[in-house]
């Protein structure tokens, strides 16, 4: 690399936040968060493949306040990444590329992700 002193783009201090830019970095952030969620999924499977005691301890951690909070945040991340991923597929097919469409579809993604998350959790508690 040439010089570490060179300015980075975009200048985050002067860059006005917009729907498209915020949702773009959110896609990346939720993707990284979901990696942790995928590791916990494997932890759950390994616990189920292990002993009843191991499974019990996993259930205890997952069912704690912090565990449930993490699961809720992961659900939100998953729904957002899923909905926004579908938006990305539309872009890949050459659709929704106008600024106004990108903004509108982004707002729809945020609303859909929030609604789907709440619906999933209500359904889970009803099913229990």
């Amino acid at each position: 690399m040439a010089s570490a002193e060179r300015p980075l783009s975009p200048h985050l201090q002067v860059y006005r936040p917009q729907w498209t830019s915020i949702l773009s970095i959110s896609h990346r952030a939720t993707g990284v968060a979901l990696v942790a969620g995928a590791v916990v999924l494997v932890w759950w499977l390994a616990a189920a493949a292990g002993s009843p005691e191991y499974y019990e301890s996993f259930q205890g951690i997952a069912g704690s306040i912090l565990g449930l909070l993490a699961l809720f945040v992961w659900t939100l991340c998953l729904m957002y990444h899923l909905c926004n991923g579908l938006r990305h597929m539309m872009w890949d097919s050459g659709r929704w590329l106008e600024l106004e469409q990108a903004r509108k579809s982004g707002q729809h993604v945020v609303i859909s992700a929030a609604v789907l998350t709440v619906v999933c959790w209500i359904a889970a508690f009803v099913a229990m």
Binding site: R28, V32, V42, L45, A49
Partner: protein
């Protein structure tokens, strides 16, 4: 007008020497993950509050077991492709970048394999 030689154009590998392979695989795994994730979320809701035995019976039955393995493979493949781009974007010191990439690639392979092995162990009655 293109500055590429006819051979380079025909190969279509570009400056990264791998063409659209990375980009394309990220899309392929993403498309696979759409139905897999929807199935998984609905299954989790249906099995909310399941006991150890109930959870094992579900994980170990043929169709859910195979779909779970598909989900694990697609998810970890997609995850390491995505993390690779994040690392390449933000880590510029070559040794750190290579170390981070090796950790992510190896870690994704290991944890993914752990998930597949766990499903198989439950299914085959370990």
């Amino acid at each position: 007008m293109s500055l590429r030689s006819p051979l380079a154009t025909a190969r279509g590998l570009g400056s990264a020497k791998s063409g659209t392979h990375h980009w394309w695989l990220q899309r392929v795994t993403a498309i696979a993950l759409v139905p897999l994730v929807i199935w998984f979320v609905i299954s989790l809701i249906v099995h909310a509050g399941a006991s150890y035995e109930e959870a094992r019976a579900w994980i170990g039955s043929p169709l859910p077991g195979v779909i779970l393995i598909c989900l694990i493979i697609a998810a970890f493949h997609h995850a390491q492709l995505g993390l690779q781009v994040v690392i390449e974007d933000y880590i510029h010191a070559e040794p750190c970048k290579i170390a981070a990439l090796l950790i992510v690639k190896g870690g994704a392979f290991f944890v993914g394999l752990l998930g597949v092995f766990s499903v198989a162990r439950i299914a085959f009655g370990g």
